[in-house]
Amino acid sequence: MTDTQPIPLDTLIVCPHCDAAYKLRRPGVGERAKCQRCGTILISPRRKAGLQIIAVSLAVAILIIAATVSPFLTINAGGVSNSVSILDAALAFSDGPLLALALTTAALIIFVPLTRALLSIYVLLPIVMDRPPARGAMQAFRLSEALRPWSMAEIFAIGCAVALTKITDLADVAFGPAFWMFAALVILVVIQDNFVCRWSVWTSLDKTQKS
């Protein structure tokens, strides 16, 4: 620990949360490398993870587009009915200064999840096919990671449940096809996030770029 001979940097891995340094030993498939100090998962490789993430991302992209435009919830009260799509819900804040909020909401529940799905496909497809990485793959993955906390489709879904319990005593509410699409989407988004081993992606982007 105190000797001054240079440490081969490639053999080290450092926990980004607590700065603990470890000698890198690649865990086998299905195993996980965990930081002993703070418990952050450092490496969690999975067999065929790339292909699975691409499939899930593709499904997410299709579901978002479909769920955005088709009717989502329908309300009935005293002979009057009203159907809304997810885009309508996002754009509910449309008067005056609230317009900024409408755009933010639309971004958080539609555009950010969609962008992340497309970026994942762009980054991972060449890696899975053993091709050199796509142009700007590093930047694309970087953007996708930066957007991660701002992708809020799953929070919106729980928000639907809360809103419905508040409305039910006021009117009848019916679920449109988009509601079920969105429910499926939320499960897929969670899977998509938990499948990605960030360390593996960075390492393969790095390797393919050097050669």
Binding site: R32, R37, L73, V80, F93, I155, A163, A171
Partner: protein, 216 residues
Amino acid sequence: MDVTGQNAEIVSARDLGVVACTRCTQVWPAGTQTCGRCGRAIIARDDKSLQRVWAWWLVGLMCYIPANIYPMLRTRTLFRVQEDTIIGGAVELLHHGAAGVAIIVLVASVVIPLGKFMAIAFLAISVTRPSSVSNHHRQMLYEVVEYIGRWSMIDIFVVAIMSSLVQLNTLAAINPGRASLFFALSVIFTMLSAQAFDSRMIWDVHAKREGAPDNE
């Protein structure tokens, strides 16, 4: 599954004279400016981190005040128009006997946001002086704050869904109030404040104290 052997003493990258990229975890010699792999600026310890934490924290808190003063929802029914603030709405629910829902609303929109402000402030203060709370607990607190932060947006989404759905011509209409904008801004600024916090600092203070115990 661990990378190192069991019971080995854990060494910080800083003590090894190396610095790691916080985005892609690639390790570089100390003093490296930018990560050669992903291009992120490498900062051994972000001295400006706490300043940014406090700046976002303050703006977030400033937005939280109007979020509670202005009405969150405007409900128009056949005979009357009603404007509810966050707390006013919860009190209303309480009068209608829906104590359970009222408590949920209060926890989600008042207790959790205020708890987040206090937790971030505590963490930011705790890394500048010896703390009686263990590093593990503080790291856990930080992860909880980061995780819960996003979920506060649920209030905004509920308002969005209700006000787009309940538009029944003359019968009833719900519209968002000005507070929704401030509440959303408050949530976003608090998230930025938590993201600006460099959690490696939690572990630094500990190492410093152990290394030089008589350096008070």
